[in-house]
Structure formats: structure tokens, C-alpha cells
């Protein structure tokens, strides 16, 4: 168990190196640099590049970069918020992204799991058809399209009912982030609904459920004690996958709703060739995905003690 744990944590290192290598290679292929300007003489541009260490060979920049990252020195933003440390910028904006992610994941758990259970318990009745139909509908719509349709709805209801729901906000509060967060959570919630239903149905067909019924347990007891617990395993996997997906999905939702989170800044950093911001944010996103996968794998052990870690393959 501990050996497996250590091996999984060590796996983060090659992933990190791979991701930053890919990112920095691509970044240097981007045409232009943050300091390309007609107003600066070539000599001055050269001096600025030297000051930021951008004149060194790419491999050397990369090695320096990795060492600095490990030391916690994430460099300074090169264009957007010129001269400010990347870590400060991220610290300022990650809060919005996290709030959106928390609202989204809560939506997934609060909506997705119960609807799946309700559908399974009412198998082949109208509640089941309703839940599966609605989830298939929302599953099929890309989240940015759903976001846009929501925006249209907000605008329409503002005009029609004289509401004052704000479309965008430069300094959003938790309440402002509710709608984007729910929109972001709806698609993964539909996946979880379908999965919970399937998993629950499978468990309900097992022999031990019949046994529990035969020995006289109440239906409620059977569902909460036996069925629910055993149907959770695949759900946890998907929740983990979807959380990684939410991190990336937040890029799209933050763009649609103009939320000043990390995703929003990443897109504008790419436009302005802000090397250090791009490198850090993509690496962070990849790290989130890897760490969440690790946590999910370890969670299995708590939910299902039968799983032996040593036999599982990495990845």
C-alpha cells in the first residue's frame, strides 16, 4: 500500500516534466515574443530578452525554469500584468476558478447521484424515462453552448420581466458565480446520473440484495446499507475524471461568462505570448488532473477494501 502510494506520487514527476516540456516547446514556436514592437530598437529588444533570460538556448531556459518552479519561484508575468510575480497573479484569480469548480462539483453530486438513484429505483417507469431523457439531453450539449443559451435566457428574462441579473462582472461574488458554476456542472451531472442509474441497477440485480430481502430487511435498509455503498465505486471514478474535466471546462465557462479566473487568463495569456503564465497555468491544470486521479485511486481503497493496490498498474 505505502509502496504503491509512493510510486503513484513519483509518477507525478515524469508527467510534470513531460507536460512542461511539451508546453515550453510549443511556446517557443509561437510567432513573435512578448516584446516584439516597432517602437523598440532591435538592440533594446535584445537587452530586455537578456534581462528575462529569454536569449539563452531553449533547453537552458527549460532547465532553469524547472529548477525555479521546484523552488517555488514561478517567474514574473511578461506582458499582461507586466512585472508582477506569476504566483501572485494566480493567487488572485484562482479563487474564482475554485469557487466555480466547487459549485459545479456540488451540482454534480447534489443533482447527479440522487437522480440516478431515483431512476434506478423506478426502473422502466416514467420517472426513469424522464431522468434518462433529461440527462441524455444535457449530456449532448457542449457546455459553452449551454452557457450561451443560458446567457440568452438571462438577457431575455431581463428584458421581459425587468430582472437585473448581471451577465458579467469584473469582481464577481459567490452569488454571481452560481449560474456559471451550475452550467458547468450540468453536463458532468448528466453523466453521473446515467452512471449511478446503471451501477445501481446492476447492484440491485445481485444475489446479496435478494438475500438481504429474504432475511427480512426493509427496502430502505437494503438500499442504503447494501445497494448504495456497492454502486458507489464506478461513480467515484467518474467523479474524479469529471473533476479533471471541470478544471478544463472552467476555461470555456470562464470565457463565456467573462469570469476573471485562471482559465480566462490562460486564454488571454496565449494571445499575448505571456510565456511564464502559459507554462505555469498549463502545468497547474495538468497537475490537478494527475493529483485528482491519484486521490480517486486511493479512495477506492476506502470504499472497497478488496482492491489491492500492489497489483494495480500505474496509469
Amino acid at each position: 500500500m505505502i509502496k504503491y502510494f509512493i510510486r503513484r506520487i513519483l509518477w507525478i514527476i515524469p508527467v510534470f516534466l513531460g507536460v512542461t516540456l511539451i508546453t515550453s516547446t510549443f511556446m517557443h514556436l509561437l510567432p513573435g515574443s512578448p516584446f516584439t514592437s516597432d517602437k523598440l530598437s532591435p538592440d533594446a529588444q535584445q537587452r530586455i530578452l537578456a534581462a528575462y533570460g529569454l536569449d539563452k538556448p531553449i533547453w537552458e531556459q527549460y532547465i532553469i525554469y524547472v529548477f525555479n518552479f521546484v523552488r517555488g519561484d514561478w517567474g514574473i508575468s511578461l506582458s499582461q500584468q507586466m512585472g508582477r510575480p506569476v504566483s501572485t497573479i494566480i493567487a488572485e484569480h484562482i479563487g474564482y476558478s475554485l469557487q466555480v469548480a466547487v459549485i459545479a462539483i456540488s451540482t454534480v453530486i447534489i443533482v447527479g447521484v440522487p437522480f440516478g438513484i431515483i431512476a434506478a429505483l423506478n426502473h422502466n417507469k416514467w420517472l426513469d424515462y424522464l431522468a434518462t431523457g433529461v440527462s441524455l439531453f444535457f449530456y449532448s450539449i457542449p457546455s459553452f453552448v449551454l452557457g450561451i443559451l443560458t446567457l440568452i435566457l438571462i438577457l431575455w428574462s431581463n428584458n421581459t420581466f425587468g430582472w437585473t441579473t448581471k451577465l458579467t462582472n469584473t469582481n464577481p461574488t459567490f452569488v454571481d458565480l452560481l449560474i456559471p458554476g451550475i452550467v458547468l456542472g450540468i453536463r458532468p451531472a448528466s453523466i453521473v446520473t446515467r452512471l449511478t442509474r446503471a451501477s445501481m441497477l446492476e447492484v440491485l440485480g445481485q444475489d446479496y440484495i435478494r438475500t438481504a430481502g429474504a432475511k427480512g430487511l426493509s427496502r430502505r435498509m437494503i438500499i442504503t446499507r447494501h445497494a448504495l455503498k456497492n454502486s458507489l465505486i464506478p461513480i467515484v471514478t467518474v467523479l474524479g475524471d469529471e473533476f479533471g474535466g471541470l478544471a478544463v471546462g472552467s476555461v470555456t465557462i470562464e470565457t463565456v461568462f467573462a469570469i476573471p479566473g485562471i482559465g480566462f487568463y490562460l486564454v488571454s495569456s496565449i494571445e499575448s505570448r505571456d510565456y511564464s503564465m502559459i507554462l505555469i497555468t498549463t502545468a497547474l491544470y495538468a497537475m490537478i488532473v494527475v493529483v485528482v486521479n491519484l486521490v480517486v485511486d486511493l479512495l477506492y481503497g476506502f470504499i472497497d477494501p478488496r482492491i489491492k493496490y500492489s497489483t494495480r498498474k500505474v496509469g
Binding site: P14, L29, L136, I141, P142, I152, A198, A247, G315
Partner: protein, 323 residues
């Protein structure tokens, strides 16, 4: 679940059917039901999937025949320059009318024609990207799963790094680095979609290569390459078809997102995502159709394709029928 069981029992496996036919002396012309025939029968019975096929046909036919169905050139502004007509800028963003079915955009170009041609790009991306994913993911998955050992470790190492890399970000970097021609758009969309395919195939191969028929083939001295392509590969086709049918709408979605943030195919070409982008910038003070139509087109296409994918999955794997 009971429903599923009865259905499975009704359908004897090919072997069982063949044995039954031999022992009972049934006429040889009675065809044993094959996986494909069963799948087709189950698919046709699925109402949602058939609805998906019908909607997709309604969308695909005008999009493929865009040159026939368009009423104006999608790249030309349709200004009325006759004396007494409104000023040119006042002619932009016309609402839907007899003349312009979907209205016009900010340069007074016919939205109907632009939707048709944009649909070409969107659907093309969906199909071509899946071809690329197959071309890369299937061989790598086959080799990785079949040979195991160091080859497997090496291939899976690369696959897992790409798997951890947020695909949309990879695509974004890619497009900003190489500029957005249709080829780079295809690669940028595909870059995040091949690792899951490789992993799927590898998993399939891992379980298939332990099966008796592979052992039998090995025992009579069949070559590795032949076992791989003649015996293992055909058995992975079901999951591949299902994965591709879900992959097409996924690719369309990713391209639409790239279009939406403005890094897809260069103008005057367009895609549904880019039309959403143009509509998004203008919808607050102009006819809402400019945003609603492309957004709905993406949603409807993805929905129909997902219905089809759902139907195919049920058709190829009756065990998951109710999932």
C-alpha cells in the same frame, strides 16, 4: 435487468447455433445469427437512435450539397445599392426574411449560406479527426497490448503524458504556435482524443490475447502479425465503432470551442463555432438568431450523434442495454 436476460437467452451464440443446427439436422441454409446482424436488429429498434439518424441526414444533406442549397455566396456582402435603399451599415444584421432565411451577419452576408459552409468545416473536423484518432490510437493500442513488456511501458508512458495534458489547452497552444489552417485545426482537435482510444484498444487486447482462440491460433503456429490483425483486431471493432460514434460529436464540440474563442479556420472560411463567436459579440443589440442558430446547430448535431452513439453501444453490447 430481467428484460436483458431474456433477450440474451433468446439469442444463442453463433457457436451454439451452429452446434444446434448440426445436431438437430436443421437445413444448412438457416443462417446463424451473427454479432453484426444482432447489432443491426437492436439498433433499428432503438427509436432515439433512428431519430438521431434522421436528424443527421436532414443536417448532412444540405451541408454536403452546400453549393446547391446556398442562395447567395457565403463570402460576399449582399448590399442593396439601388438609390433610395437604406445606408449600407443599416443593412447589416437583417432579421430572418423571405430573402435571407436566417438573416444576415455584420457584413450583411447570408447566414443560411454561411451556416451551410460552416457546417462543412464542423462536420469535416468531426469525421477526419476520428480517422486520425483511429490511425494513431488503434495501432499503438494493438502493439502495446499485444507485445506487453518494455514496448507497452514505453507506449503507455507517452500515452499517459498526453492523457494528463488538458487537451483543449494543448490544442490552443498548437493553434497559436502554427496558425490556424484547417490542417492544424484538425491536429489540434485530435491531439487530446487519441490517448483514450489507445488505452481502450490496449485494454481490449489485454483481455482478448488470453482467450482460447488466440491460444489455439498460437498453438498451430500462426504468426504474431496475423494473430493481431486477423484474430484480435476484428474483436475490438465493436468498442471501436462505439468509441468513434461518441468521438465525432466530441471533436465537433472541441472545434466549436476553438471557433468560439476565435482560433479556428481563417476567414473567409467559417465554422459553426466561429459563427457562434460572431453572434456572441453582436447578439445584445441585434436579432438573436445570429447567435441562436449556430448554437442550436451545434447542440442539435451533437445531440443526434450522441443518440446514434448510444444506440450503437446498446446494439453492440446488450449487457449495457439499460445503462
Amino acid at each position: 435487468m430481467a428484460e436483458v436476460k431474456t433477450e440474451v437467452e433468446e439469442q444463442p451464440t453463433p457457436d451454439a447455433a451452429a452446434i444446434a443446427a448440426q445436431t438437430l439436422g436443421a437445413p444448412k441454409s438457416a443462417k446463424p445469427s451473427s454479432l453484426w446482424r444482432d447489432a443491426r436488429r437492436r439498433f433499428v429498434k432503438n427509436k432515439l437512435a433512428i431519430a438521431g439518424v434522421v436528424i443527421m441526414l436532414i443536417i448532412i444533406i444540405p451541408v454536403i450539397g452546400a453549393d446547391v442549397f446556398q442562395r447567395y455566396d457565403p463570402t460576399l456582402s449582399q448590399y442593396d445599392r439601388s438609390p433610395g435603399a437604406p445606408k449600407l451599415y443599416e443593412q447589416n444584421y437583417q432579421p430572418a426574411s423571405e430573402k435571407f432565411w436566417f438573416g444576415t451577419d455584420g457584413q450583411n452576408r447570408d447566414l443560411w449560406a454561411r451556416m451551410l459552409h460552416g457546417g462543412r468545416v464542423s462536420l469535416l473536423v468531426g469525421v477526419v479527426v476520428q480517422a486520425m484518432v483511429l490511425g494513431l490510437g488503434v495501432p499503438l493500442g494493438l502493439i502495446s497490448g499485444f507485445f506487453g513488456g518494455k514496448v507497452d511501458t514505453f507506449i503507455m508512458f507517452i500515452v499517459n503524458i498526453f492523457y494528463a495534458f488538458p487537451s483543449i489547452l494543448a490544442g490552443l497552444l498548437f493553434l497559436s504556435a502554427f496558425g490556424s489552417s484547417i490542417m492544424w485545426v484538425l491536429i489540434a482537435v485530435g491531439i487530446g482524443l487519441w490517448p483514450p482510444m489507445a488505452r481502450l484498444i490496449r485494454g481490449q487486447v489485454l483481455s482478448l490475447r488470453e482467450k482460447e482462440f488466440v491460444e489455439a491460433a498460437r498453438a498451430i503456429g500462426v504468426k504474431n502479425s496475423k494473430i493481431m490483425f486477423r484474430h484480435i483486431f476484428p474483436n475490438t471493432l465493436g468498442p471501436i465503432i462505439v468509441s468513434v460514434s461518441f468521438g465525432v460529436p466530441q471533436a465537433i464540440q472541441i472545434e466549436a470551442f476553438f471557433g468560439f474563442i476565435g482560433v479556428s479556420v481563417p476567414p473567409p472560411a467559417t465554422s459553426w463555432g466561429q459563427l457562434v463567436n460572431e453572434g456572441f459579440k453582436a447578439f445584445q443589440s441585434n436579432p438573436i438568431t445570429i447567435l441562436l442558430i449556430p448554437a442550436l446547430a451545434i447542440a442539435l448535431t451533437c445531440m443526434s450523434l450522441n443518440f446514434i452513439g448510444d444506440g450503437l453501444r446498446d446494439a453492440f453490447d446488450p449487457k449495457t442495454k439499460n445503462k
